[in-house]
Amino acid sequence: MQTIISPLVSHRLCLAPAVPRYRLPNIYHRAPPSIRLSNHRSTTSPCLFSSAAASRDSEMATEDVQDPRIAKIASSIRVIPDFPKPGIMFQDITTLLLDTEAFKDTIALFVDRYKDKGISVVAGVEARGFIFGPPIALAIGAKFVPMRKPKKLPGKVISEEYSLEYGTDTIEMHVGAVEPGERAIIIDDLIATGGTLAAAIRLLERVGVKIVECACVIELPELKGKEKLGETPLFVLVSSAA
């Protein structure tokens, strides 16, 4: 499995921290080989790194140097083999939430990216999107719109069905939560096949909202989820080989 690390990244960024930032039993140690550090994931990657570089300290000389916060975030995510079923390497973000610095940095990276882009809606997919979306929404002055499994939202909803490996699933959004012409980002913890995010995009587009970008903490690039998003760009912090 190839490791994607830009040759311009300073060597210190490739090293996992010597001491975990939180004291947990050994079961919480991550499997480092499963996590690759992502430099850039969206098709607008130069743009992404220009803005990231511009907002950083002047010590960062080149645009292609990875933000040092990314390494810490990547190393705070643990991988659980064979969950929810054999063969799946589950990317567990709960350990990221236990690392106050890493969680703060995760939100800061998204906020820095979206704060001056006229975004009035942050949509988050149940349930892990509910963890990252609201802090971002609050920081950039946007509404938070939950996108939920069927029958959880009370009152009038619109739904969108999407395919699973076997069968289909549905996500729902409240009628009237968003207005035509609003600019939105969609947040989830992870993009795998892209089915859920694609359904979320369709739901928002049906009511006339412009989706500026989809944003996830983790991407599983081998599953090619990005291809399901059509014209909508994707921004992720970490790529995983799992």
Binding site: Y22, R23, L24, P25, I27, Y28, R78, I80, F83, P84, F90, D92, T94, L97, L98, D99, T100, F103, K104, I107, E126, A127, R128, F130, I131, F132, P134, P135, A137, L138, G141, A142, K143, F144, V145, P146, R148, K151, K152, L153, P154, G155, K156, H174, A177
Partner: protein, 191 residues
């Protein structure tokens, strides 16, 4: 205890929060006036007030853990945790958390449900607050407290945006303080 009785009497933020919550009659079943906080999340100012009130209360109480109950506790807990420098621990329905978990069952009106937490997420003697959007009977919060206390953590307080009439006048839940911002909103029909 309600915020208005505990230092925030007349605070206009409480009124804004209350006004932003909509009531949906007969959901999920007939006779229930569902307190829908999604409209609060659409009102950026009111949502910010909600978080600010909790943060102001907890920031100097040496809280190192905010535990949030799936799924609506996830909407409020992380923002509070980030602002006070605490960890966020999700308490989830069965089968959602990977790896080693402990679980606690609690009663519903008909039947039971279970709440799970990761082993090792909280350490003994850590000071914890538990967040949910609403407290009715207190069954879910009690289960949450049991999970945390079984790991040696100290539950300092349970905090909810809305408290149903059953809890009015109660300052404690299973011996621990309960802090609530508002009572259920009026009967305006939005849908």
């Amino acid at each position: 205890m309600f915020a208005a009785e505990n230092g925030l009497k007349g605070d206009p933020r409480l009124e804004a929060i209350s006004a932003a919550i909509r009531v949906v009659p007969n959901f999920p079943k007939k006779g229930i006036m569902f307190q829908d906080i999604t409209t609060l999340l659409l009102d950026h100012k009111a949502f910010k007030h909600t978080i600010d009130i909790f943060v102001d209360r907890y920031k100097d109480m040496q809280i190192s853990v905010v535990a949030g109950v799936e799924a609506r506790g996830f909407l409020f807990g992380p923002s509070i945790a980030l602002a006070i420098g605490a960890k966020f621990i999700p308490l989830r329905k069965p089968g959602k958390l990977p790896g080693k978990v402990i679980s606690e069952s609690y009663e519903l009106e008909y039947g039971h449900d279970r709440l799970e937490m990761h082993v090792g997420a909280v350490e003994p003697r850590e000071r914890v607050i538990i967040i949910d959007d609403l407290v009715a009977t207190g069954g879910t919060l009690s289960a949450a407290m049991s999970l945390l206390e079984s790991q040696g953590a100290e539950v300092v307080e349970c905090a909810c945006v809305i408290g149903l009439p059953e809890v009015k006048g109660q300052h404690k839940l299973k011996g621990k303080p309960l802090y609530v911002l508002v009572e259920p909103s009026g009967l305006d029909e939005f849908c």
